[in-house]
Symmetry: C2
Subunit: 244 residues, 2 copies
């Protein structure tokens, strides 16, 4: 059988479907391209030491009172008590180098917390795609990409990232899939990859961000491999793979 | 604005996501291509008068005791008390003409019942695609395609049907979409349509059916427009559009 000995990659299109895909022996890669997982990778690339993903705003406010730097947004809007919003351009080395940051977003951080029982939880984005694929390839686990989506609805950018990762892993010869969402994601990636930013013009969230004047991140968020950082969840804290 | 005056089409990839897409003023089209919605259309095409979709097996058994013809399967297997399984080839005119049939399946009938508060609930399949699109075009409602999926997971065949319907309606000039699942479905349809049965070789359910020796239906289920019937839900009963 051609898939014998290969590891499996699956894709879950929404946190609301997680229970139907969950596999705690797998590596879960959380994808929230616009903008949480891209911003988290960018934060580590700029020198953040640890990142505390929190789901609720009360919890984020509590950390702020304790003196932490807090990044928090809802529906693309920076919250008044927060030091940063959700843009990957927020984290300047002089402000964040060596620090712990608390992070709360509309969709992404909830997805990270939801997956916390998995063998590993990794933060995935186009900007760390190749480093992530290489690290996964060297582990001995199946993979599930958990797309954060938009308020539990499917979105294009998270799914196409999932397809890019699936394509890379299947291309390595060490992975297979029998999961229809992985097949669909990979097909969409193969169609989109020659002009990813152009293809993303079709995405609903692009238009949401444009209305808010926040779509300056589109090109950055859809350009692969600007960093080699791999943020991993360790005891409810995101740390760099090298510190794991 | 280019979408002004146009009606909206959205696609929901799983019954478990229905609450995030639900719109009771819309026409909901339920898609369970392999095999429930194809089989329901085939049943009407062969002369069935009414079809009672039931979710649970106890309910299906109860109808059988009352003397009804019952079609019931789980995971592709005909249940012992049932007269028919879920194949669209089961319903011969001499057996079913003018009759009421009770129908219960793994995914499809639950999805039909779930949508029962919508303005209209229609049964969609490739075999009635054009008739369905023409009827919808003449109504004055938005459209939501509810993919039955496989045990709440995304599947290719239901989603690609959704894309075919979206493509037809958007192509009419009367519809638009800002829904990422509709965009993705339409892209997949455009990629698959020149060799739909071949593309479906990638689908997980194809392989499930092949193992059970049930994949004789693949070509029939993926060939558009063998019938003009449009089954609609009316007071918990499926009837033909002409009788609605």
């Amino acid at each position: 059988m051609e898939n014998k000995g290969k590891r499996k990659i699956e894709v879950c299109f929404s946190p609301a479907l997680y229970s139907f895909y969950r596999s705690d022996s797998a590596i879960v890669v959380v994808s929230d391209i616009l903008r949480a997982t891209t911003a988290i990778c960018a934060a580590f690339a700029n020198g953040v030491k640890n990142l505390i993903p929190v789901a609720g705003l009360d919890e984020a406010r509590e950390w702020k009172r304790k003196g932490y730097l807090v990044a928090a947004e809802r529906d693309g809007i920076v919250l008044d008590f927060a030091d940063f919003g959700n843009s990957p351009f927020n984290f300047h080395p002089e402000q964040v180098m060596g620090k712990t940051i608390v992070y709360s977003t509309t969709n992404g951080t909830q997805a990270i917390r939801m997956a916390s029982e998995a063998k590993h939880v990794a933060v995935g984005a186009f900007i760390n795609l190749t480093a992530l694929a290489e690290w996964i390839d060297g582990e001995d686990s199946d993979v599930l990409v958990l797309c954060a989506g938009w308020k539990n609805r499917f979105n294009l950018e998270d799914s196409i990232f999932a397809g890019a990762l699936a394509d890379s892993l299947i291309g390595s010869g060490h992975f297979f899939t029998d999961c229809d969402s992985a097949v669909a994601s990979r097909e969409l990636w193969m169609m989109a990859k020659s002009d990813l930013t152009g293809f993303m013009d079709k995405a609903a969230h692009r238009h949401r961000l444009r209305k808010l004047g926040l779509d300056d991140v589109m090109e950055y968020c859809h350009t692969p491999d600007s960093t080699r950082v791999i943020p991993l969840l360790k005891d409810h804290l995101l740390v760099e793979h090298t510190d794991y």
